[in-house]
Symmetry: C2
Subunit: 306 residues, 2 copies
């Protein structure tokens, strides 16, 4: 079964990793949000792309949810020591990714080529594609603090400003990465991973051609919210800021008629009857390697029933 997975950071990368252990490499394409990308210290940083690649490579930092395993932070101490910006955490090993990527992009390579190269170096055989090689920048429209670039809101301001909405700068002119529309067309099903609907999945859906490519497809979304709470990240707070009670139901409503099936946690099974598409209740809290595999298997089995 050919799967195209849409993914943001931690949650998305865990489910993608589950698929990677179950599917032949040629049957899995992971399309990753780049709306969180930004330029920092002159470096092109792609947080979600790196989290997905590091996770598939088994070199991700399992504690922090970003960056690399066995990491040191001496660069950051150095930056602090000369009055440079230290609000965005960059580990020493992780930094190599940003520096080498930035160098290659400046030399004219495209983001997806660099990503494929890095994946091969790290032993990742699956196809990981940034949603677009063109810059798309998620902007957070806040109630009292103006419009903030995503990382400014997310890391520097610690998600504190109240959110009114989002804008995805660049989507009007951005093209999907070569291979994205093909992977969607060839997929037996598209899986929206348990990532933030507002800032991880919506940017992917905004890229030209992606949304319409989903219209004839089996599309399954996995809720990133369990019992009203996100495992990680600000999705819950974003729903609340915008006057929506955060729940698996709110996520299903958010995706509306894009999805043809929905997977929520057993704790939320009671919400199933309010969701217009077939629902599977599973254990979606992936706090171990085994649970990644089990959820990925549940998703594949669920797809077969549709």
């Amino acid at each position: 079964m050919k799967i195209a997975a849409l993914a943001g950071g931690v949650g998305g990368s865990k489910l993608a990793d589950g698929f990677a252990h179950l599917l032949p490499v040629e049957d899995l394409t992971i399309i990753v949000n780049t709306g969180d990308d930004f330029e920092h210290l002159g470096l092109h940083i792609s947080p979600d792309l790196d989290t997905v690649c590091y996770t598939l490579a088994g070199i991700e930092n399992p504690v922090k949810g970003w960056g690399r395993r066995d990491e040191t932070y001496n660069f950051l101490e150095g930056i602090k020591g000369i009055g440079g910006p230290d609000w965005f955490m960059l580990g020493d090993r992780d930094l190599a990714t940003h520096i080498e990527r930035t160098k290659r992009l400046r030399e004219g390579q495209l983001l997806h080529q660099v990503t494929i190269d890095f994946c091969r170096s790290w032993g990742v055989q699956q196809t990981v594609l940034p949603m677009s090689n063109d810059p798309i920048r998620t902007m957070v429209i806040t109630k009292n603090d103006g419009t903030l670039p995503f990382q400014e809101y997310f890391v520097h301001r610690n998600c504190e400003p109240e959110v009114k909405g989002f804008r995805f700068d660049g989507t009007e002119t951005a093209h999907p990465t070569p291979g994205v529309l093909e992977a969607l067309a060839q997929a037996d099903a598209v899986v929206i991973c348990p990532s933030n609907p507002w800032v991880s999945i919506d940017p992917i859906l905004k890229v030209g051609g992606v949304r319409s490519a989903l219209s004839q497809k089996i599309v399954i979304a996995v809720s990133p919210i369990i019992a009203g709470k996100t495992i990680k990240g600000p999705a819950g707070k974003m729903f609340m800021d915008m006057g929506i009670r955060p729940s698996a139901l709110a996520v299903a409503h958010h995706y509306g008629d894009i999805i043809s099936g929905f997977i929520l946690d057993r704790l939320d099974e009671g919400l199933s009857s309010q969701i217009a598409v077939p629902v599977l209740a599973s254990d979606i809290y992936m706090n171990s390697h085994e649970k990644r595999l089990r959820l990925a298997q549940d998703v594949l089995n669920f797809i077969r029933t549709l």
Copy 2:
């Protein structure tokens, strides 16, 4: 006594550090070679400038002779892991200097402003000036390997190609850094530190106005060669490649009528009679903090006798 010191890397920085411990901060200006500077991985790297600043700050790596103390090299492992260039050693703490400097230069700051800022952060009160804010690039003309950028010759090729001569690209148009000619004019004496005459001192002397600013001055050079050998670096090999027997005498001849006094090691005292200017024989092997101070004191005393 106001001193302007011309310095390259390790040897120069050690003597400069000796002066820094003996002179009031306003009486010492260190003018540093930037001919070794290069762009690597998209970063502006100034090896001599960093060695001088780190040494004055007491954060230099005392073992390697480049980079920082208490250093880790995980960035370099990361770069190696994705097929990036790992021939130029960059420590994790050291990297912060290059990244923040590159960022500031791209924003329009000048190299000497960035250097002064970094020095203040590191607690260095003396004035450390790159010889020029304009790019000057030392090129090594080899017998059999063409003309190589300095770091390509020095680090990547490990000084193996046979040297025929040098070229300092950019000197025709480069201006001395603001403060350089003033410091030379105001100095009671100029000290050419025990740095490589060919690739550390000559580039400084080539910057417009520097050489003529020395013509009315007491200029003391300290030999970087003891008993025919350099403590560190390729100066000895460079003399040999060009058919000159490496010695303190060769260094004194190299500087010719620029210098009004010369300091060599006691081991080389026998050469004194062949040198046309007053000579002091001292212990110039600075393998301890005390010996830096003692040599700096000897230089100051020698200047008073001229």
